[in-house]
Amino acid sequence: MNDDTQAWRQERRQINVDALSIGLAVGTYGLSFGALAVTSGFSLGQTMALSSLTFTGASQFALVGVIGAGGSAVAGVLAALFLGIRNSLYGLSLAPLLQVHGPRRLVAAHLVIDESTAMTISQPTPRAARWGFWATGVAVFVCWNTASLLGAAGAEAIGDPETFGLDAAVGAAFLALLWPRLRQRDARITAALGAAVALALTPFLPPGVPVLLAAAVAVVVAWPVPRRSDSDRGSAGTT
């Protein structure tokens, strides 16, 4: 095996640098998450359990956002898990590239997130794809958890969220997570309908439930498959 050629060493180094810069960028989300979780009433331990065990940002924001806004725990968990469905989709694209089995697959699964998927599927060779997956997964895991801890510890010192407009920050965070997913026309339609349905149902249903029903909008919009389908649109977002 002539695996360690000069070119491959160089390629690996480049992937590591890319992975680290993605990790640092994701760290800024982690700071916000840690701060928002604590101001929504989660303890430092619970915040860190979410970042290390759940380890998928949008779901974590959803749980914290729904419960922080007075929704039930069940509504929060369901919203978080509905968002996590896209990670199953990522796994489908990753499985043939990663070829992981047994215990390695159990570890790899934990690292299946937006960033590691985007990095993996954009590599030119399967070997680089595998390296990209593990490098990005580990870099994001370390940065995400470190930043969550800093954000949570910082927020514990602050107190009332409204003083610093942190309640407005949650909405901005959701919008920033949504933004890169709006490139396709049917995504923009889905977003507009989802927001409208959630707001229209809010006066009549318990907090958290209107958000879940908005997910049904996506199923309705997605159901008719276009004939000349752009069927490999399952590309990864940016978080």
Partner: protein, 100 residues
């Protein structure tokens, strides 16, 4: 809160593992892909709307809306995440201070 934290963690992990483990034909259909791509879009849009325009179970227009407007402009200008979030918070907090 702990049961919610642990249930979310377990569920999120199983969803990740599912994608790596099922046979390609089972889930890899255009319709399933479209649903899995669009469900997060609908949810994030709904979460944004509810977070900004709802208080309890009534629709309101307050300082948070100004924060969201700032976020839209910042995202159009391709500002980094932290600028979007911190800026939105600062706009809302500033407006509240002015309104007294």
């Amino acid at each position: 809160m702990w049961p919610a934290v642990l249930a979310t963690s377990l569920g999120a992990y199983l969803l990740k593992l599912l994608g790596l483990s099922v046979s390609q034909q089972t889930l890899d259909r255009p319709r399933v892909r479209r649903i899995a791509t669009l469900v997060p879009v609908a949810l994030l849009a709904a979460l944004t709307a509810v977070q900004v325009f709802v208080s309890g179970s009534t629709l309101v227009l307050d300082a948070r809306a100004a924060g969201l407007a700032f976020a839209v402009v910042a995202l159009l200008l391709r500002a980094p995440f932290l600028v979007v979030v911190v800026g939105a918070a600062a706009v809302a907090a500033g407006l509240r201070t002015i309104a007294g």
